[in-house]
């Protein structure tokens, strides 16, 4: 087995036992990148020298007997909407083609402090708006399980890199499913953490009340390790929650599924969801039931309104957040137009792609005089109802389980002409962001010729511990080997 194929947990043990060095691990992953990146296209920017230098330092410190963080020496890729000091951060947009942040995001500083070599910046849909990675200004990332298909999005580069062995771990961001849906499409594990548990300082904002940075990896344990590193209170993010964040790895193996109450919301198994996906997901839940879990049908009746409420709130916030891209402080500036206002208008015309323009305009519309009551305020009221329904459901059950996506990875180009069709791939994930809950996607089988299916587990606020335990348990009993590196 090559080093790039191993899990972070395995590699961390090998490092401690001096069976390999961080430089060897990093070289192995860089070699894999060199071999398959031409086919996959997961990265926008590669930083191999920087990664090897970090690895060298970690090896020195380990040799000197220093006690380092559990993930020290394990290479990671970072989604390109997370600021990295002195390394260009484009958000996959022409607008930020030359933006070199003068500071690093909180999560990047955590990764650097832990001694994780950073391999580079990962492709995504422009400003995290999209579900296929096809909205990137730079390249289309391919799904490593089937190169004719999309990896999902918006964190498609993150999921593809981990799946292809081009990174051991990755950071993504999730506003409406952008970590979980690509994790499901690529057959890997991804967590959207509780809102407020991971600092957004240094994350380029899309919809601030919904955005959350989270980890992707090939095993639940790896994702729990990275979440343990990045979660925590940060005074630089006003929505960061000040509480005690424990280590999420220690108790993983002690978990017993006996008595775990699982809720199945019938609204997530309706007509819009592929029949074979429903079967795979229900089979996974059945397996947990066979091992001692209690399964109960529940109802989240307002689910039908979630996609509307989500797109209204997310676009409204985006229209405000993206107002900062004006050709003055950073990024692209057009040479066309007369005067300041036309400079803004041409800069934004030329700097943004069509999907970003559509969402800014939708957001401007739903906030504009005469329409704000009918759209934005009503969406906010719907958000409160959806959150209440989850709260009531969690009085009856410990976890809620659903499909992560209503379908498997679709073909490149298949939906790019129809934005609405693209939005439908978020129907199972947006409610979680609307309610600020944590949710994890874990592979639960495959359909047809190896297209992975994701099982979404949803927990109450700050219920990550239970998510990891239940998902790790499922991983063990399912006997699936889906989270392996894709053969390319």
């Amino acid at each position: 087995m090559n080093l790039y194929e191993m899990s972070a947990a395995m590699l961390a043990r090998k490092l401690r036992n001096k069976e390999c060095s961080s430089q060897e691990i990093t070289q192995s992953v860089l070699g894999r990148i060199q071999a398959v990146e031409g086919q996959v296209g997961a990265y926008i920017t590669l930083t191999p020298e920087q990664a090897l230098e970090t690895a060298k330092q970690v090896d020195k410190r380990l040799a000197a007997g220093e006690k380092l963080a559990p993930l020290a020496g394990i290479p990671i890729g970072i989604k390109d909407n997370i600021c990295t000091k002195d390394v260009v951060t484009t958000c996959a947009s022409k607008m930020l083609h030359n933006f070199v942040p003068p500071y690093s995001a909180y999560v990047v500083r955590q990764v650097e402090r832990a001694g994780m070599p950073i391999l580079g910046k990962l492709n995504m849909d422009e400003f995290a708006m999209g579900s296929s990675c096809e909205n990137s200004h730079y390249k289309k990332t391919k799904n490593p399980r089937d190169l004719t298909r999309v990896p999902g999005g918006s964190s498609g580069g993150s999921a593809a890199a981990v799946t292809a062995g081009e990174a051991i771990l990755a950071l993504g961001s999730d506003t409406g499913g952008s970590i979980r849906q690509p994790a499901a499409y690529c057959g890997t594990v991804g967590l959207k953490p509780t809102y407020g548990s991971v600092s957004r300082y240094g994350l380029v904002a899309f919809a601030s009340s919904l955005d959350q940075i989270g980890p992707l990896g090939r095993t639940v344990e790896d994702v729990a390790m990275l979440y343990s590193l990045i979660s925590g209170y940060d005074p630089k993010d006003a929505t960061s929650v000040n509480r005690t964040y424990t280590d999420f790895v220690a108790g993983l193996n002690d978990f017993q599924v006996n008595g775990l109450k699982i809720g199945i919301p019938k609204e997530y198994f309706g007509d819009g969801v592929d029949q074979e996906i429903k079967e795979k997901v229900l089979a996974a839940i059945k397996l947990l039931e066979k091992n001692g879990a209690e399964v109960k049908e529940i109802s989240l009746p307002s689910t039908d309104y979630a996609l509307s409420a989500y797109y209204i709130i997310a676009c409204a916030e985006a229209s405000s957040n993206l107002a900062r891209f004006d050709g003055v402080k950073y990024g692209y500036r057009s040479g066309k137009g007369e005067g300041l206002t036309e400079m803004y208008e041409y800069t934004r015309r030329e700097g943004f792609g069509d999907e970003v323009k559509r969402r800014i305009m939708l957001g401007t519309f739903v906030l504009s005089s005469g329409y704000i009551d009918a759209y934005y305020k009503k969406a906010k009221a719907t958000q409160a109802i959806i959150a209440d329904e989850f709260r009531a459901a969690f009085e009856q059950v410990d976890l809620i389980m659903t499909p992560t996506a209503p379908d498997t990875a679709f073909r490149i180009g298949e939906r790019s002409a129809d934005p609405l069709k693209m939005y439908l791939s978020d129907i199972c994930t947006v409610t979680v962001n609307i309610a600020g809950l944590p949710a994890l996607s874990v592979p639960c089988g495959e359909i047809g010729r190896g297209l992975p299916v994701g099982l979404q587990m949803i927990a109450p606020h700050f219920g990550e511990d239970l998510l990891f335990k239940a998902a790790h348990y499922y991983e063990k009993i399912s006997g699936l080997r889906l989270a392996d590196v894709a053969a390319l």
């Binding site: 070199v100 003068p102 509307s308 229209s319 300041l340 800014i360 329409y371 009503k378």
Partner: protein
């Protein structure tokens, strides 16, 4: 609900030309038709949530970015300032 794309584009500070209008009109209209699916409920109050006020840090002087760091990404600067096109004659 019908959308006036030219007006919204102006408010959004995005230049949309006449020949793109039909294309954007159709797409924006489809998006609006989709998001109209909302329950018939009273609208929400957008007043701040009194039970969960946003935490504020103490107003203390601390190191922040230097001026040259703030300006390093600007398309045009002069004498330590951002430069923009003339706003008056």
């Amino acid at each position: 609900m019908e959308i006036d794309v030219m007006k919204i584009a102006r408010l959004s500070r995005i230049k949309v030309t006449e020949d793109e209008l039909a294309h954007f009109q159709k797409e924006m209209q489809n998006m609006i038709n989709m998001v109209e699916k909302l329950p018939d409920i009273p609208v929400a109050s957008l007043a701040p949530d009194k039970d969960h006020p946003m935490g504020l840090r103490k107003d203390e002087i601390q190191r922040s970015l230097r001026r040259d760091e703030v300006l390093q990404n600007a398309p045009e600067t002069e004498a330590g300032c951002f430069v923009v096109p003339n706003v008056m004659d």
